[in-house]
Amino acid sequence: MKKYTIKVNHKPYDVEAEPDVPLLWILRDYLGLKGTKFGCGIAACGACTIHLNNNPVRSCQLRISTIPAGAQITTIEGIGADAPHPVQEAWVELQVPQCGYCQSGQIMSAVALLARKPMPSDKDIDAALAGNLCRCGTYDRIRKAIHLAAGNPK
């Protein structure tokens, strides 16, 4: 067991863990931040997407020992913590989720996309969210909601 300090949603946490524990399980089982979901464990579904220094990454593949010191980790709990983020508002407006299990990951990818590209095209959206799978099949509403959050005339 080793000691690590990580910063999640602007809050520092001291964690004692084996070096190979993926951030996903640190968040869920060690810190109790259950909003980030486990889907496949092999970076194939995107349910565990979080932001590492504002970039979307699969937390199931990010071992605690490889997280750079001082890195900013943002989870779904850190999005719209004070007031709903425009992406979350659009998700509610268009009633995007069905079961909702994949939606934390979808939203993390969407927020990162809009930060990088405020007015994305359909193609940009499809490319940025290609790694986020939804078994309910909410892709059409996800695309519309991202346009709505972006303020795209459409």
Partner: protein
């Protein structure tokens, strides 16, 4: 806790158990075989909440709680099932709290499947709502000394026709709970529906956009441990040997257990690794060395071979014409 409180999925159940235990006065209507409503339990005591029937709790503060007895797996029963009660009870969805049933037998079967949630609950739950509404109207009519036909219900209140006089359901629930449950309440005509069939936003959606919705995998109970199960790479394989010395060296691993699952045609065998956290359980499972006997199989299907075939576009996948 309100319908629009996105935290309700997390706190609803616990809050409900607390409230339900307080609800010692009231009249419970049970649904028997999903066909008729009947009076099961008259209680006596003091409360802040009346369980007029298992699916409807009415608080003295006029908070209306409706229990959803079906699993919501994305098909929307957390909205559609309570909507059937709310429609006949004459409460708007904005006035109610929706909570998930907790497994008690008074809620009947609490599984979802066969697209049966609406079909099987359509009449029983509407009748439960309508019966409760009729009891509330009767209680108001008695209080005012008028005929029931002089009263009507809207938005969790009973009004006296031709006047501004009204009483909230919360004010009437105590008296209503002492009345006989109508066996055959009058249901609304579909033309008069204000909730069913209308495009109304689902209350639990915000919780599904901010990480607060609670799923099975998120549940923690005191002293909980985690398991990861190794199955045979071939269906119905039998275990010959389990080598678990590497598994047991992994920090967090507690035990290795051979499991048998009774299936319809044959029993399936597997090995479960129990650990303090899921990652340790998974690592432990990956460190297991299990020898499987697949000799009893008449046909062979190997997971890895099959996966390789799928990767090459062969095996099982329908080719476009």
């Amino acid at each position: 806790m309100s319908l629009n409180d996105d935290n309700f999925l997390r706190t609803g159940r616990r809050d409900f158990i607390k409230r339900a235990s307080l609800a010692t006065l009231g009249l419970a209507i049970g649904i028997d075989s999903f066909s008729k409503i009947h009076n099961i339990t008259p209680h006596n005591g003091t409360v802040d909440n009346f369980e007029i029937n298992p699916f409807i709790l009415i608080g003295l503060d006029n908070t209306i709680t409706i229990v959803n007895p079906r699993n919501d797996m994305g098909q929307g029963t957390l909205h559609s099932v309570p909507a059937m009660i709310a429609e006949e009870l004459e409460v708007s969805l904005a006035q109610i709290k929706i909570i998930q049933s907790d497994g008690q037998s008074k809620y009947g079967a609490q599984t979802s499947g066969n697209s049966s949630s609406i079909r099987r609950l359509w009449l029983p739950l509407r009748k439960a709502g309508a019966a409760t509404k009729e009891m509330l109207i009767k209680a108001a009519a008695r209080q005012w000394g008028v005929l029931e036909s002089e009263c009507y219900a809207r938005e969790a209140r009973v009004f006296r026709k031709g006047s501004d006089t009204s009483l909230t359901y919360g004010e009437l629930a105590g008296a209503a709970s002492k009345l006989e449950v109508p066996a055959d309440p009058v249901l609304k005509h579909p033309a008069d529906f204000s909730i069913i069939g209308k495009d109304i936003k689902r209350a639990e959606i915000p919780a599904r956009t901010n990480g607060k919705a609670v799923y099975g995998i998120d549940i923690e109970v005191p002293g909980m441990v985690y398991a990861s199960i190794l199955h045979s790479p071939m269906i119905f394989g039998k275990i010959v040997t389990i080598e678990d010395s590497d598994t047991l060296k992994i920090p967090g691993v507690l035990r290795v257990i051979k499991c048998e699952r009774k299936m319809i045609h044959r029993d399936a065998e597997s090995v479960a690794v129990i650990a303090t956290d899921w990652w340790a359980a998974l690592k432990g499972r990956n460190a297991l060395k299990v020898q499987w006997d697949n000799s009893n199989l008449t046909e062979t299907l190997d997971t890895e071979d099959y996966f390789k075939k799928l990767c090459k576009g062969e095996g099982g996948r329908h080719q476009p014409p």
